[in-house]
């Protein structure tokens, strides 16, 4: 097991290297000159040349790449061209709101969706099942910003239960964090509830047809235990996959929701960086995102073996 985790962590290295090369080339191959954007329209050729030199853009491309990789290995992601803050620091400030929102969203989604899916499978082809399926189709189809604005309209403006926008760190005031984060999280959760409920239902339907469920019933085990002790754990692997992928998607940035609810997360950081052509930040974000994906996939695979004793690496 430990050997497996080590092997998987080693496998991250080539992925990151590949992504690094890709990002580097992508930015060099896209039309447009960062120096020109920084200098603005009125710049003289001499100014441009100076900026290029300061960015290291006048060096041969291989030298540029070696320099960049050299910095990368030391954990130096460069300095933001716009705010002049080191990129690591910038991400460090902005990643916590995103992580907190993502965690809360996933927890909410799982708590709502899994029981929904279990009940839908248990009450297969009854009104409860159809209700869950209908909700799930709606959850997929309505755009996030629409749901967000509906929630703000209902809970913040009409009922005045919750604040409209903003973010407080949970470390500062947990109650305030919850009251401010609950709407964005519910908004984000809608689509994941739909996804997870559907997957839970499908997976449970399959497991409920298995022989050992019949065995459990033949022992006189009650329905709740049949569902949650016997069926759910056996149905968990595909559900977990969806949850993991969802979490990775959430962490890599939830642009629209962060904008609608004015949360200072990395989703907005990325969009701002793209709009301003802040290359070091864009590069760092792409690298970070791919690392998060690889890491979360590893976590999911490890979790499989904890759930199912037959899975051994």
């Amino acid at each position: 097991m430990l050997g497996y985790i080590l092997k998987r962590l080693l496998a991250v290295v080539p992925v990151i290297v590949f992504v690094a090369i890709f990002v580097f080339l992508l930015l060099r191959l896209t039309p447009g000159d960062p120096a020109a954007i920084i200098a603005g329209d009125a710049a003289t050729p001499a100014q441009l040349e100076k900026i290029r030199a300061s960015l290291g853009l006048s060096e041969p491309i291989l030298v540029q790449f070696a320099t960049w990789i050299g910095h990368l290995v030391r954990g130096d992601l460069g300095i933001s061209l716009i705010s002049n803050i080191p990129v690591t620091e910038l991400i460090g400030q902005r990643i916590w709101p995103t992580i907190n929102i993502a965690l809360l969203t996933i927890c909410l989604s799982v708590l709502i969706a899994v029981p929904m899916g279990v009940i839908a499978a248990w009450k297969h082809r009854t009104w409860a099942d159809y209700a869950v399926m209908t909700f799930s189709v709606l959850g997929f189809s309505v755009p996030v910003f629409v749901i967000g604005y509906i929630f703000i309209q209902v809970f913040s403006i009409q009922l005045r239960w919750l604040p409209v926008q903003g973010y407080t760190a949970p470390g500062d005031d947990f109650g305030k964090f919850l009251s401010r984060a609950i709407l964005p999280c519910l908004t984000l959760a809608t689509i994941y509830v739909a996804l997870i409920a559907r997957m839970t239902r499908a997976s449970m339907l399959e497991v409920l047809g298995e022989d050992f469920i019949r065995t459990a019933r033949a022992k006189g085990v009650g329905e709740t235990l049949v569902l949650f002790r016997h069926a759910l754990r056996n149905a968990a692997v595909p559900i977990l996959t969806i949850i993991g992928t969802g979490f990775a998607l959430l962490i890599s940035g939830v642009v629209v929701t962060e904008s609608v609810f004015n949360i200072p997360g990395i989703g907005r950081l990325t969009v701002d960086a793209i709009l301003a052509r802040d290359y070091p930040v864009i590069q760092a974000m792409i690298l970070l995102t791919s690392a998060i994906y690889v890491f979360i996939n590893l976590m999911i695979d490890v979790a499989y073996s904890l759930i199912d004793p037959r899975i051994r690496y």
């Binding site: 050997g3 065995t215 022992k219 056996n234």
Partner: protein, 559 residues
Amino acid sequence: MLFKTKSFDDAPVVLSIEDLTVRLSGVNDTVRPVLDRISFQIRAGETVCLVGESGSGKSVTSLATMGLLPKGALEVSNGRIMLGETNLLSLSAGQMRDMRARNLSMVFQEPMTALNPVMRVGAQIEEVLDTHMRLSKKEKKARVLDIMEQVHLPDVERIYRSFPHQLSGGQRQRIMIAMALILEPKLLIADEPTTALDVTTQRQILSLIAELQEKHGTAVLFITHDMGVVAEIADTVQVMKHGELVERAPVETLLRNPQEDYTKSLLRAVPSLTPRPERVSKPPKGGPALSVEDLNKTYGSSGWFVNRSTTLAARDVSFDIPAGRTLGIVGESGSGKSTVARCIMRLIDPTEGSVRVAGTEIARLSRADLRPHRKHIQIVFQDPFRSLNPRWTVGRSLVEGPLNLGQDKASAMARARELMALVGLPEDAVDRYPHQFSGGQRQRIAIARAIAMEPDVLVADEAVSALDVSVQAQVLDLLDELQQKLGIAILFITHDLRVAAQICDEVIVMQKGRVVEHGKAGAVLADPQHPYTRSLIEAAPGRAWDFANFRELGALAAQ
């Protein structure tokens, strides 16, 4: 004494089923019911065997009794199921749950799937106690270990902590039995509990059930399609057909003096353990159709971080099959018989050795070089429900191989129609889909698919094991007939000695990857030399009885 002869007239009635009728949910009375007014009784200590072909309603009877009919698919429309003084059909869901395991229990067919794969088996037995009584942790464990010892599991402390996949099929079935009997119910329903097990394991499980039944006076409703098992364990036999009880009699009466035509036809279909007479005609001249020499297959590999021990799945296997002859490989699960078949088919690659098909060495050919030689050797698999692509018409499955070899579509289709007739199906079967056929018909299609390639060798891997005996006999006849018409050599893999006796000219017995005995079918089965072969034959249930002729084996000689 051949059969059990004890009378149960004085024993109290445990289960009494009266006029039980089960229908498909949501259909009216004009549709034929799945179970039609079934009535019977089981007394304390008695074993009643319910026999019949698939679809006869055996399992539905047992599930109805347990209250486990699939919801929304089947429902009881009439009758009573009396357990002692209680009508089980009048109980609420909660009361019925309370009855299960405490008063009536069930053991299922597939020990591989009947246990929860993610729970330790000890916890699964304990769950029965948790459901029905309150005990301290210590008492619970003591009772579980006690019942595990009663079902003769070795090293109970270790097995208590094991997961199902770490146990053998026989051990898992023992766990199931422990679970069913820990609360000493009055009635045990066993639904084909030994069908998925090897003969030697089957024998142990049968005697275990008998032993515990004796000890606790349990009434047993035993569902099976195997007449050999019936002869071994039944007090009373009931024959079912299309949801009706057609005959009920004490076991000896039923086997010696069957009254109904259906019962007679069931018994006649049971293949005899006596090998068929040796064929007199000489096999045609020329080299063997299939020749295997020193075949070895080793599983297991070592990678960067894994280091598994290797398993010898087949060791030094050698044999020849002449054209027009049948060689059987018999053995229990894990003996390596399927490994040999797959190596010969090159579905897996042999580690060492030579496989010559129609004179060509194929053991070392690359995938690409092998392709033109595939036509010479074809396989029929065990489960006809899974071996045909459900979304393809039968015709499309049949012509795929010939088209790959460059035949044109029209002539391949014409040939497919001929093949349908050859295997005893209507020609328009080519336009239909596999789900429109019964298991026996599908196996005919699978055979037609194999011979569409005009092979020299046909490998039949447990090809009749999933079929009812009457259908089994028909498929065996078909194989025989095709062999005579087309002169194919057949490699027949089976765990069933009766089947091997009926179709094979020569037999190989395998154990743990090795060939332990190899000879003419008559010699191996009538006069086994190796102790393992002998133990296999001794474990075959009902081996002293000649089912097809309703008398003891050897009675013919005595006449």
